[in-house]
Symmetry: C2
Subunit: 291 residues, 2 copies
């Protein structure tokens, strides 16, 4: 790996902080990855695809004019009853989609839904660029429902958008991600935005950052996570990230991290967890969840 | 116009049924059109952009990877407090977005939102093609809120997706719309899908098609509207369309038609109106509204 980046020092690699990134196979696309993750989630929740009332696909890396990609996932899963559509919002998409699902679930007509994030962001970064050291491909899904006594409870959420910063990043003529500000500025904005979203949701619940058991931020970069811990004066271990083992997996980062730390036993029933994300838009979002 | 299409007869033009189509100026883009429509809607509703809690932009004709387009509209409107994101779903998008807004409005934290549809579909059809005779550019917006005693009330909605038909239409390498089935088959599917969505929402309310004052279908094509009236055995005048004067304005078709017939006095307070749409996906949706 180092040999491909002769200009980068060991220190640079430490700063990037990703030692392993999953890369989707050439024949894997966003719907296929989404189906794989969805089937695993449905099986764990013991919910049949046929019983789903809705399916929301979160994704930024394979957008198109028509059709949305969610209908293809609906078809591949056999979720015949489910209406299905896409949500973008880049790395903030999963919490946006959870909030949309939360809205539908206020309607007694809808009992079960699926929120699935699937991104092959590595195809949106220029091969050989530093970004290729950061981004990974991943999909993760959550079955959502009203009146379920399993999994986690979304206590509250916060959604924010600052359109005056919509020009921070986009894609170039070859559809590769481009950043128009310095990394330092982006990191600082990300950290202040994560804190802003978190503060808002915590304040509404009469809580502070010290009151939650763990914070699970969007994988972003290692730098953002270090800066976040410092800014909040929290011990580094209170901030859970699987960035080193998967990379920045964009829309899938929050559910992938939750799954990782549930599996390894760090996250346990009864804990209060704050998930935070930012995304090109500029979006800043938070979710307070009770395990 | 006829001279550009020597192969088309007067009968062909009658079948297409569009005598006037609005074309966006070259310097008008989806956000600019959305802002124009949004300002008009906010003014009519006497709501300040600054007070909006959310903004949903519906659009299929200008999609991109990142960022969503809604944040730019948020910024241009000065809707600083509003979170903002995009919904696609092609011509079914407006009702999808209304349903998302309806979900958010169940949360007492959100009082006011804006759903704006903005499409310049003429840039997605090949110049000189028959489709260029059908599609128009338009934007239209609705201020939505809980506990408002003005405007219309969304009594119920129906959302459906059939992902097994996701391959009916897409865009070609030049980003021009392509249809992969014969027009007759598409029309028949559209009519049966509109009826299915309408029946579902009406049945839930203990109503039939005969019980509503008017049906406002997605502008689609003139053929679809004629077939719909025939299939439902309803007088043609019960189906309101402004297709002849604006063309198929895709995501904006339902709100544009509602505005047209409210202005000319056809739609009046107290009436029950069924709005129906289909969209590439394949999506079929309905909304029952009380004026």
């Amino acid at each position: 790996m180092l040999s491909s980046f002769p200009e980068l020092s060991e220190r640079d690699f430490e700063r990037i902080g990703v030692s392993n990134r999953h890369e989707a196979d050439d024949d894997e696309d966003v719907p296929a990855m989404a189906v794989h993750a969805s089937k695993a989630a449905l099986e764990r929740a013991n919910v049949a695809a046929e019983s789903l009332d809705f399916l929301i696909l979160v994704n930024w890396s394979e957008r198109r004019y028509v059709p949305d990609i969610a209908p293809r996932v609906q078809e591949l899963l056999g979720a015949r009853k489910a209406f299905a559509f896409d949500v973008g919002c880049a790395c903030a998409g999963f919490i946006y989609a959870l909030s949309v699902a939360h809205g539908y679930l206020q309607n007694p007509r809808f009992q079960r839904g699926l929120v699935v994030a699937s991104d092959y962001s590595r195809r949106r970064v220029r091969p050989g660029s530093r970004a290729s050291l950061l981004f990974g491909d991943a999909a993760a899904a959550a079955v959502v429902g009203a009146n379920i006594n399993a999994g986690f409870n979304l206590v509250d959420y916060e959604l924010g958008t600052d359109g005056s910063r919509s020009d921070l990043m986009d894609v170039d003529a070859e559809n590769y991600l481009e950043t128009h500000v310095r990394q330092r500025e982006l990191n600082e904005l990300a950290v202040s935005s994560l804190i802003r979203a978190g503060k808002n949701v915590l304040a509404r619940q009469g809580l502070t950052f010290a009151d939650v058991d763990y914070i699970v931020p969007h994988s972003g970069t290692a730098g953002i996570q270090t800066m976040l811990a410092e800014a909040l004066s929290l011990p580094r271990k209170k901030i859970l990230t699987n960035l080193p083992s998967v990379g920045n997996v964009t829309a899938a980062s929050i559910p992938t991290a939750l799954e990782h730390f549930l599996r390894d036993g760090t996250l346990r029933t009864g804990q209060l967890v704050l998930v935070l994300a930012v995304g090109v838009g500029w979006h800043f979002v938070a979710g307070l969840i009770e395990l």
